[in-house]
């Protein structure tokens, strides 16, 4: 039994989500191999080889693998799939894009967003926006899985010494091409992996007012997040959205400011260790999950809190 983990990276840096996925792979028992498919991605392969618990790294390096196009990346995974009993992707935008394509080609079910491993064929996953946890068993020969990264503690990024083996890259499918990318620049920690997250909702009232969260986030070294209402209203960029259809986070501390706490938002943050809610409506559902709630005007409370830290 050997598990293949598909690395998430930007051709220069291995993304943290890969380390959580390796941790899930380790729970299955058996060897863990990592596939790095990219362009000029040797540095990424070396980082993957240094991760704790990795036995071997496969590197497929070619221009057509540069941008993670689903057609090419899935073909690359399928080229080696027959050697593995489990194929794991992080449940990120990239992993969710490619994993079902691989599964369907192998004619197996795909198991999405696992949060627990019970055995080599039995897994736990949230359904209905996290309002229920399903335990599912797969009878398929190969298990294709995406891993909710907040469900597993990352393995150490150093200490491993796996060999890197070059793999022949698959040909370009010719079906799709990459046009461009608009990456939101940020000096703050990455939302999905942050230790502290400060999120704003509709209560902030405008994009301008959202800046009131900056000093607080700076003091806490926090990533900024947002509710869907705030994103839809244009107060915050789309990729800040925390919730069932946005990012799933589980930081040590989550501060919800001006967020009522709809089911869909709670789905993305209720596994946070400590939740603080600041809201002027004492009846807001967010207080039902908050460890510490403060009823008050956020425009007074937030600056006061930033000053007190």
């Amino acid at each position: 039994m050997t598990t293949l983990v598909i690395a998430e990276h930007d051709n220069a840096q291995l993304k943290g989500a890969t380390l959580n996925t390796i941790a899930a792979a380790a729970k299955l028992g058996g060897d863990v191999h990592v596939l790095v498919a990219g362009s000029n991605a040797k540095a990424v392969a070396e980082q993957a080889a240094a991760a704790a618990g990795v036995a071997k790294v496969l590197l497929a390096d070619a221009p057509q693998l540069a941008d993670g196009l689903a057609e090419n990346l899935a073909a690359q995974v399928l080229a080696v799939a027959s050697n593995y009993s489990h194929i794991l992707f992080p449940a990120t935008a990239s992993g969710k894009n490619v994993a079902p394509r691989v599964a369907a080609k192998l004619d197996v079910a795909q198991i999405s967003d696992i949060i627990g491993v019970e055995s080599a064929d039995t897994f736990q996953r949230p359904i209905y926006a996290g309002n229920a946890i399903a335990t599912v068993q797969s009878g398929d020969a190969v298990k294709v899985i995406t891993v909710r990264t907040t469900g597993f503690d990352a393995v150490a990024a150093t200490g491993g010494s796996a060999a890197v083996e070059a793999l022949e890259a698959v040909a370009d499918s010719g079906l799709s091409s990459f046009v461009g990318r608009e990456v939101a620049k940020s000096d703050r920690p990455e939302l999905a992996g942050a230790r502290v997250v400060v999120s704003g909702g509709r209560g902030l009232g405008s994009a301008e007012n959202f800046k009131i969260l900056d000093p607080l986030a700076d003091k806490l070294g926090a990533a900024l997040g947002a509710s869907r209402a705030a994103v839809d209203a244009g107060y915050a960029p789309n990729d800040w959205q925390v919730g069932q259809t946005g990012k799933i986070v589980a930081p040590q501390l989550y501060v919800a400011v001006g967020i009522s706490g709809a089911i869909q938002h709670l789905a993305g943050m209720k596994d946070s260790k400590v939740i603080v809610a600041i809201n002027k409506d004492a009846e807001a559902p967010i207080f039902g999950v908050a460890d510490y709630g403060l009823v008050g005007d956020l425009f007074q409370v937030v600056p006061e809190l930033a000053n007190a830290l």
Partner: protein
């Protein structure tokens, strides 16, 4: 160009579901059912493509029990020209649905299939990608912008950290993200008109597909409950609690 839009009947997004006490599933008897919100966005996008002249016909399809006809009628009230129900009482998982949809695609020969990115009940986010794989078509998931021109579809996708744009050769698969569009309200006259539109019913057997589930659900349980929190009076107390009680600062 013909556009196929698969739609799913799910528990309404406002309903807080309860896990059954025997842990066999969630209790969906007597709860409000609606069209999956991402699928509404898909129907809206297909309808807009037709209104702009990019599509000639929009066909809505749904797989499941007889009541899925209501969901198809809603799609037709938004703007779909006709509907097809693949009727079965079997539990349907994404791989089975993808195979049923492939059967319909082979029959209907659309150039574009627009699906929602995920259904809010199983939260799988798989069907579109699986259909693309089975057909060997290109895919663009999590779309926030779709433009069809010259035998290609150019799609802006919502990815971690921002947006990316890909160009696919038609025929192709697109799955919708929340911000692709705002679905229109269905008006009473359009609901009445939708009742007269054609709705065909087929079975998985007609399509030569065995819809049996591959994953066995052993149990469905409540997520661990959070212990009740407290309300604090002021900022000073909050900071004190975070430092000394929760020890997160």
């Amino acid at each position: 160009m013909k556009v196929l839009v698969p739609v799913k009947r799910v528990v309404d997004y406002n309903v807080k579901v309860r896990v059954k006490s025997d842990q066999t599933g969630v209790d969906i008897a007597n709860v409000k059912m609606s069209m999956n919100p991402f699928d509404e966005i898909a129907v809206e996008e297909a309808t807009r493509l037709k209104e702009k002249g990019g599509a000639t016909e929009v066909v809505a399809v749904s797989c499941g029990v007889a009541q899925c006809q209501e969901t198809l009628r809603t799609a037709m009230a938004i703007g779909a020209d006709r509907g097809i129900l693949v009727q079965t009482d079997a539990e349907l998982q994404p791989l089975a649905v993808a195979k049923l949809l492939k059967g319909l695609v082979d029959k209907e020969q659309p150039q574009l299939v627009i699906l929602g990115k995920q259904a809010i009940d199983d939260d799988a986010n798989q069907t579109g990608q699986m259909l693309a794989a089975l057909l060997d078509w290109p895919q663009a998931t999590f779309a926030s912008k779709v433009e069809v021109a010259d035998g290609n579809v150019t799609v802006t996708r919502e990815v971690d950290g921002g947006l990316e744009t890909v160009k696919l050769k038609l025929p192709a698969i697109v799955t919708t993200d929340l911000r692709l569009n705002e679905p229109r309200y269905v008006t009473l006259p359009n609901i009445m008109k939708a009742k007269k539109k054609q709705l065909d019913t087929v079975t998985p057997q007609d399509l030569g597909v065995d819809p049996a589930p591959r994953l066995k659900t052993l149990k469905v349980s409540e997520p661990p409950a959070r212990k009740a929190g407290i309300k604090v009076e002021d900022v000073a107390t909050l900071v004190d609690k975070l430092k000394n009680e929760a020890k997160v600062l």
